[in-house]
């Protein structure tokens, strides 16, 4: 295969175009899952390919082409989501409504009460399932909307990422209550 490509024949060109289309489909599918809308996904996918061209000089062959393309897609998609962040809190309202109105159960309390970010992250690691951790980090760490997380992670349950976020926050609230109780005992 390498020889064929190096020879630069017409067959290689067709084969390469086919390979290009395979990567291109991944990018388009991913952009569609991020945007949830074909017009916006089209613009996003186009921006990814243009950026790939622009940054070709930075590709050192340290990874597969698809990994390199993923890093560009990821960056473009996060920028896109940031630009759309004002539309993203509607489902967050639903999450808040599904939880008791207790300021102490808010997720940031985990990081306020623990002496270091590492300790708080260890708590997350201990208390949450893998999917809950992924949803929590993507939503609160990268501002990815819950509908987008549902599509990106391929979650099949009826309420998608929202259910995992509600469950994660409940678990963290319980862990914080336990943690406070043990602090009182040792004080």
């Amino acid at each position: 295969m390498s020889n064929h490509l190096a020879a630069g024949g017409g067959g290689a060109s067709i084969w390469l175009q086919e390979l290009f289309r395979r990567h291109y489909k991944k990018v388009v599918t991913w952009c569609l899952r991020v945007a949830g809308d074909r017009e916006e996904a089209h613009d996003l996918a186009q921006a990814v390919f243009v950026k790939a061209q622009r940054h070709l000089g930075a590709f050192r062959g340290d990874s597969k082409v698809s990994t390199w393309l993923y890093s560009i897609t990821r960056s473009e998609c996060l920028n896109y989501l940031k630009s759309r962040s004002s539309l993203n809190d509607a489902l967050e309202d639903d999450v808040a409504e599904a939880l008791p109105d207790d300021p102490e159960s808010r997720p940031e309390r985990v990081f306020e009460l623990h002496s270091s970010v590492q300790a708080a992250r260890a708590l997350l690691d201990r208390e949450l399932t893998d999917v809950e951790k992924r949803v929590f980090i993507l939503h609160y760490g990268d501002d990815v909307p819950l509908l987008t997380i549902t599509r990106l992670l391929g979650l099949q349950n009826p309420s998608g990422a929202k259910a995992y976020l509600v469950s994660a926050r409940r678990k963290l609230a319980r862990a914080l209550r336990r943690w406070r109780a043990s602090e009182r005992l040792t004080a």
Partner: protein
């Protein structure tokens, strides 16, 4: 309340962002495919096993590598692919118009015309990148294909006028700025999960909301709406993007 939420979110974002020890997507990709040199791979294995952040990135990378459109995505992916591929093919091979006149033909949309070169270049570059990656998978010498960075242009946008944001009462109509190329407009009102509540067509740059829909606009419930401008042949020529509104509680 909104300000408090914003502060809280910024605190969480900071705490959950990648640390200095976290790997880049490229390093994670090499790690996952087993091509990272041994000392670096061992170091990264130790880190990833205890880092939910890197594990999340690895999950996303795997999802991307395996991304294939599901049944409900196939039509949209086909539509996007055809649109981009048409541009690529069109730009790559001279059209009869170019052959006759030696320059790009006048286009219906400035977006289309201006992006042909950029997209073709991007596509050609990617094909070249793939070729390089296949011929020599490590540290290839890469040619700079283009010193000029192409410009990304977005599809034509419709500026919406109302409703938007928090309102005191249910809106009576949707309004937007007219588009010169538009023969008609398709309008859609949706739930926040994009489930359609109501849709209609109009030739004007506004449309009255029916009473049955207005009855469903209740305080505190956010809704989305969008408008697509269509030319005489029914092709979409401009789009508003999704606009959010709700009535205050």
């Amino acid at each position: 309340m909104a300000e408090a939420r914003s502060t809280e979110r910024s605190l969480l974002r900071k705490a959950l962002s990648p640390s200095r020890a976290c790997a880049s997507p490229i390093e994670l990709g090499s790690f996952a495919e087993g091509s990272l040199p041994h000392p670096a791979a061992a170091r990264l294995r130790d880190h990833v096993s205890g880092c939910a952040r890197c594990q999340t990135e690895l999950t996303l990378l795997t999802q991307f590598e395996n991304a294939a459109p599901g049944p409900d995505e196939e039509a949209a992916v086909r539509w996007i692919s055809a649109r981009l591929e048409r541009r690529f093919t069109d730009a790559a091979s001279p059209s009869p118009w170019r052959a006759r006149h030696g320059a790009a033909p006048p286009r219906r949309s400035a977006f289309t015309a201006l992006n042909l070169g950029g997209f073709a270049l991007a596509a050609a570059t990617l094909v070249a990148a793939v070729a390089i990656g296949l011929r020599e998978s490590r540290a290839p010498e890469l040619a700079q294909l283009s010193p000029a960075a192409p410009t990304v242009l977005r599809s034509a946008r419709i500026t919406t006028l109302s409703p938007a944001g928090d309102l005191d009462a249910a809106p009576g109509e949707l309004r937007w700025e007219p588009q010169p190329e538009a023969a008609s407009y398709s309008v859609q009102v949706m739930e926040v999960d994009h489930a359609e509540l109501w849709g209609a067509e109009t030739r004007d740059a506004s449309i009255v909301l029916p009473p049955a829909l207005r009855a469903r606009i209740v305080p505190g419930k956010p809704l989305l709406w969008e408008v697509v401008a269509r030319d005489a042949a029914g092709r979409a020529v401009a789009w508003s993007g999704k606009q959010r509104f709700r009535i205050r509680r």
